[in-house]
């Protein structure tokens, strides 16, 4: 029907705006741009890692993109002689708290899906040059649910890359948080990738509001 086709969209748009407040003209590129990285104390991170002498925290940094994204990078010790830093990155996407924020959202700082086969292949080649990489068939599970990972090896070393997107807003995430993205990269001398994944398995998110753990939800 003609009318439906014509007016549906206007209605949807306008409704969204009414709930948010009043929309004004916003011409401010800078509110969406990414700030440079700055050093922070490990205690200021939204994540705590289990103590691990192989992977001590070397440095912690954060930056923000618009009012919506905060990104944290934790550089961990690398006991190998391989190139590249061991690290955990955490991107926290909050819901915009104003119409202003809703209208001028910056581009998402991580892609969804986090990886495609092509982008994963490129990433693994860049992260672990000259190593043989395989993507794990089965996901593993940490406190926040399933995550995927890949393993790269050469004669002496083993590396892992793990990634996870937490979006369960109904049960796990506080209402202010839209999503949390985690990525972990570690190289070590152990042949056993599970040892390398131990920090990722044991990490705990510390946001101002509590993030519930996936396992605690299984009974719900």
């Amino acid at each position: 029907m003609s009318g439906v086709s014509r007016f549906l969209r206007l209605s949807v748009l306008a409704t969204a705006l009414l709930t948010a407040g009043c929309g004004g003209w916003v011409r401010d590129n800078l509110t969406q741009s990414t700030t440079p990285w700055r050093r922070v104390q490990p205690t200021a991170l939204p994540v705590s890692l289990p103590d691990n002498p192989q992977f001590p925290i070397v440095a912690a940094r954060m930056r923000s993109t618009g009012a919506v994204y905060k990104s944290y990078s934790v550089v961990l010790g690398n006991p190998t002689a391989l190139p590249g830093e061991n690290r955990l990155t955490v991107d926290v996407q909050t819901l915009p708290d104003s119409l202003f924020g809703a209208l001028v959202q910056p581009a998402r700082v991580f892609p969804v899906p986090l990886y495609t086969l092509e982008s994963l292949t490129r990433t693994l080649a860049a992260e672990f040059p000259d190593m043989t990489a395989t993507v794990a068939d089965a996901a593993r599970r940490n406190r926040y649910g399933d995550y995927d990972y890949a393993i790269a090896q050469d004669e002496e070393n083993t590396c892992v890359l793990a990634w996870q997107l937490i979006t369960d807003r109904a049960r796990m995430l506080p209402e202010r948080i839209e999503a949390v993205r985690l990525e972990y990269r570690a190289c070590g001398t152990s042949r056993n990738p599970r040892v390398l994944l131990q920090p990722f398995d044991g990490l705990v998110l510390i946001l101002p509001e509590t993030v519930l753990e996936a396992d605690g939800l299984s009974g719900l």
């Binding site: 590129n29 440079p36 002689a81 590249g84």
Partner: protein, 596 residues
């Protein structure tokens, strides 16, 4: 350069609708240019089949006179004179020409000339509303149709709707012609993207055989190299260098294009190659081309290719060539490391001399000649270079870490070893750990007593002084600054810079890096005035490298200072032409002349 002739007129587009090889158009005058290519030249203003003396087509000339485009007007006069030396420009060139129904079309032409096609359409429609009896001239409508078709073609190409590119070209064949070469390139690209390689190849062949400009033919071959095989590029080059030569054009540069592309491909492979992956004949060709062109960048790439294979003598030869053709700290770095690999330390130090204390890469390379030693380090002696020396000479930074780890576990950390660990970590793209290493080295330096014996070199120069005239403390501070640059800590580093214990040269280098990083951010944020401000400040400290010159150009371009941008791009491109610089020149040129 002939910007007006439209010799392709439909020729290119025959590839749209007909079988790839069927290029024939109506009318006589078909010429076989190469096996499988038969091109007919459609009559175009003042070109094509033998122009009659005294019958020069002045349409375009009058058009440019009317719109006041002096540059194109002069080019057209020159072109017509070349065709017919007896021809003189008409005296009434600037006299108003008769117009239809009392409507002066010049405002519309002005809009067309400014590239404001939609505005011209709107103005025509408004005029027609006010003067219903008026008909716009066929010329004007044609120009508008063409410009719109070109816009559609570009829009489809920009958004990778390849079939739409081909459809747009088919709907308005004249939008694809030598004087709209960019459209022809986009059409060829669309074919290539749709895996219709034969049609792409045919389109490129038509361009290089029909468009008279040598530069355009050469650029076309470079464009085509992304899509065509080596054999096809060879054929294209042969065609471009010989077909339909125009007077006054030198096609030598066209002929050289294939070799340049091939060199580029081989160099790219050499850069990533594992030992021995370039065949002997590839290598020989590469070496020949690099020598012919005295291409120091190519010589450097070859040097590293050999250095990685521990063929130090060959490496040294190429680094020396590079340094001879164009002295640089990069060439010196290579030379030092190659000499170090050969064990010819005196020559290595001599090669370093001009850059000592001025180039961090040379200072770093020197460490492979005179590596740092802690108390437990073996003195260099008749037994040959140490494990660390060898690793550094090979640029094997993983080996460097292992060697240092071994030395430290043998006899404890020293300032020099921990510092070297910092430099190697930086090379391994582990800047956070590198920063920590320099901090550790600084703490060690505060405790480490001055050693009178052990490393004899140190006792001569004083233990507190390292290479390049900087102190230990300065080197530590410098290492930390470089590491912080690599981690992106520009804000913190900018704040701390004044307090850091750096030599003036180091301070200038770090500040220059900070400024270029900031300029890059400003460009991303579209703060173009800031880009210029930051680059100007940087230029006070150190010369502007090529990539920042191009950044400056884009900032100028975006500030509508297109002429300046073009001049800058052109001067960079004239020194060394790369894809990046060619595209910058092309884009700015087209913006100036609305030649999209």
């Amino acid at each position: 350069m002939t910007r007006l002739a439209v010799p392709l007129l439909g020729v290119l587009l025959s590839t749209v609708s007909l079988a790839p090889v069927a290029f024939a158009q109506s009318g006589p005058g078909g010429r076989a240019l190469a096996p499988g290519v038969k091109v007919e030249v459609a009559p175009a203003p003042g070109s094509g089949t033998a122009p009659q003396p005294g019958k020069v087509d002045e349409t375009a000339l009058r058009y440019y006179a009317r719109i006041g485009d002096v540059e194109r007007l002069e080019a057209e006069i020159a072109r017509l004179r070349a065709l017919d030396p007896t021809w003189e420009p008409p005296k009434d060139l600037f006299a108003p020409q008769p117009t239809t129904a009392g409507v002066d079309e010049s405002p519309f032409w002005a809009l067309v000339s400014a590239g404001k096609i939609a505005e011209a359409r709107a103005a025509v429609a408004e005029q027609r509303r006010q003067t219903p009896s008026w008909q716009p001239s066929a010329n004007l409508l044609k120009e508008l149709d063409l410009a719109e078709a070109a816009g559609r073609l570009r829009g489809a190409s920009d958004t990778k709707r390849w079939q739409d590119v081909i459809d747009a070209a088919a709907a308005q064949p004249e939008a694809v012609a030598c004087n709209r070469l960019d459209n022809a390139w986009r059409l060829a690209e669309a074919y290539a993207e749709l895996k219709q390689t034969d049609r792409a190849f045919d389109t490129y062949k038509t361009i290089v055989s029909q468009c008279p400009s040598a530069k355009e033919r050469r650029d076309t071959i470079f464009k085509a190299s992304r899509h065509l095989s080596q054999a096809q590029i060879r054929e294209l080059t042969a065609l471009g260098a010989t077909a339909n030569p125009a007077a006054g054009e030198d096609y030598a540069a066209v002929r050289a294009a294939e070799a340049e592309i091939e060199t580029g491909r081989l160099l790219e492979r050499a850069g990533t190659a594992r030992p021995g992956s370039l065949s002997a004949s590839d290598l020989a060709q590469l070496e020949r081309t690099i020598r012919e062109k005295q291409d120091s960048g190519g010589a450097l790439a070859l040097g590293w290719y050999f250095q990685r294979q521990k063929k130090y003598a060959e490496a040294q030869g190429w680094f020396a060539e590079a340094n001879g053709w164009s002295p640089s700290d990069q060439a010196a770095e290579g030379l030092i490391l190659a000499y170090a690999g050969l064990g010819r330390k005196a020559e290595a130090r001599a090669a370093a001399e001009p850059w000592r204390g001025k180039s961090s890469r040379v200072d770093q390379a020197l460490k492979s000649v005179d590596p740092p030693r802690g108390g437990g380090g073996r003195p260099a002696g008749p037994q040959g270079p140490s494990e660390l020396d060898q690793a550094l000479a090979r640029r094997d930074f993983a080996g460097c870490l292992t060697a240092i780890q071994r030395a430290i576990s043998r006899s404890g950390p020293t300032v020099a070893l921990v510092q070297q660990r910092g430099w190697c970590l930086l090379e391994l793209k582990r800047p956070s750990e590198a920063e920590a290493a320099f901090v550790e080295a600084q703490a060690l330096a505060a405790r480490e007593p001055v050693r009178g014996q052990g490393a004899a070199r140190n006792s001569v120069r004083g233990a507190a002084e390292a290479e390049g005239g900087m102190t230990r403390a300065q080197e530590n501070a410098y290492g930390q600054a470089i590491a912080r640059l690599s981690t992106g800590d520009t804000v913190g580093l900018t704040q701390d810079l004044a307090r850091l214990n750096l030599t003036p040269a180091q301070k200038a280098e770090v500040r220059a890096s900070l400024l270029s990083t900031e300029a890059g951010r400003a460009l991303e944020d579209k703060r173009y005035h800031d880009v210029l401000r930051l680059l100007d400040a940087r230029k006070e400290l150190v010369p502007e490298p090529r990539n920042l010159g191009i950044m400056r150009g884009w900032a100028l371009y975006n500030l509508q200072r297109v002429e300046e941008a073009y001049k800058l791009f052109k001067s960079i491109d004239d020194r060394l032409s790369t894809r990046e610089s060619r595209e910058a020149v092309e884009t700015s040129w087209k913006t100036i002349y609305h030649d999209w």
